[in-house]
């Protein structure tokens, strides 16, 4: 009974994690510049990975396996946190200017004027 519940919870967490991965990838495509895209990578993807690893940890057959899953998440968190600063810092040094003005970004193509 407990195993069934743990498996169900694990599957649920994996599924929600995948949704965060999907949303992060959407942000990567939709966000306007490199800095904003880094937000999608470091936040949504990390949360997705955390849920994925937690889901797999719940389904693990041994405690050490579950701990290994969480270790994977921890290492990726550290790497992505440092990596994001390095990429942003390099972009800033290269003169890529982040969008600083409040703006509404529309993805609809503007209508062409009638001739």
């Amino acid at each position: 009974m407990t195993e069934t519940l743990l498996n169900a919870a694990g599957h649920g967490l994996v599924l929600v994690g995948l949704l965060f991965f999907l949303a992060g990838s959407l942000g990567l495509l939709r966000f306007p510049d490199i800095y904003a895209r880094l937000h999608a990578l470091t936040k949504a993807h990390n949360l997705g990975l955390g849920l994925l690893c937690s889901g797999l940890a719940l389904q693990a057959s041994a405690l050490s396996e579950a701990a290994k899953m969480m270790l994977v998440w921890l290492l990726v968190l550290i790497a992505s946190g440092i990596g994001a600063t390095l990429v942003a810092s390099t972009a800033n040094t290269c003169g890529i200017v982040p969008r600083q003005v409040s703006r509404r970004i529309r993805h609809k193509r503007p209508r062409e004027p009638k001739e």
Binding site: F20, P32, H39, L71
Partner: protein, 171 residues
């Protein structure tokens, strides 16, 4: 005035060695999947590694770190949800800005580096540059409480790392 970190135990002291040994043993247990046979050559490797590993430059505060884990998890969850909501809106509305955050408590050292890395994982903020007087932070969707949130986070990190200045002592 800067309060200096309390003196460290000697790098080669038994207490320090025991901490390193315990940490490496836990890592080995995770990586090896808890197989007893792997300890035959894992144990000597752990002993040698814990002897040659450099001692931490700051005293450990395990309880403060344990208290910090739920805070970090909560912030990470909020950060992920916020970005997800922004990315999934049919009409993308962003108020992105670069803001300067001046150091209030942390002095130069690992505490500042940790905060700069941590900022990348919390809602809507990204460290662009670490400067002597503060951080240059990219905010995905600016809110009035962004500075307050960063300041609160610095307080949390200051509890983890010794060698901080108090708010009263900050000019």
């Amino acid at each position: 005035m800067t309060r200096l970190p309390r003196p460290l135990s000697r790098p080669g002291s038994a207490k320090n060695w025991a901490w390193r040994f315990a940490l490496l043993a836990i890592l080995w247990w995770m990586i090896s999947g808890g197989e007893w046979a792997s300890w035959r050559w894992g144990l000597p490797a752990i002993v040698i590694a814990s002897l040659v590993m450099p001692a931490p430059t700051l005293p450990l505060r395990p309880l403060a770190w344990l208290r910090f884990v739920p805070v970090a998890l909560w912030l990470g969850l909020r950060g992920g949800i916020e970005v997800t909501l922004l990315a999934c809106r049919p009409q993308l509305v962003l108020d992105t800005r670069l803001v300067e955050y001046r150091w209030q408590r942390l002095v130069d050292g690992p505490g500042r580096l940790f905060l700069a890395t941590l900022i990348n994982l919390i809602p809507g903020t990204l460290t662009v540059r670490i400067q002597p007087h503060g951080l240059l932070v990219h905010v995905l969707h600016y809110r009035d409480d962004t500075h307050t949130m960063l300041s609160r986070l610095e307080c949390h990190v200051a509890r983890l790392f010794p060698g901080t200045v108090t708010a009263e002592e900050t000019p």
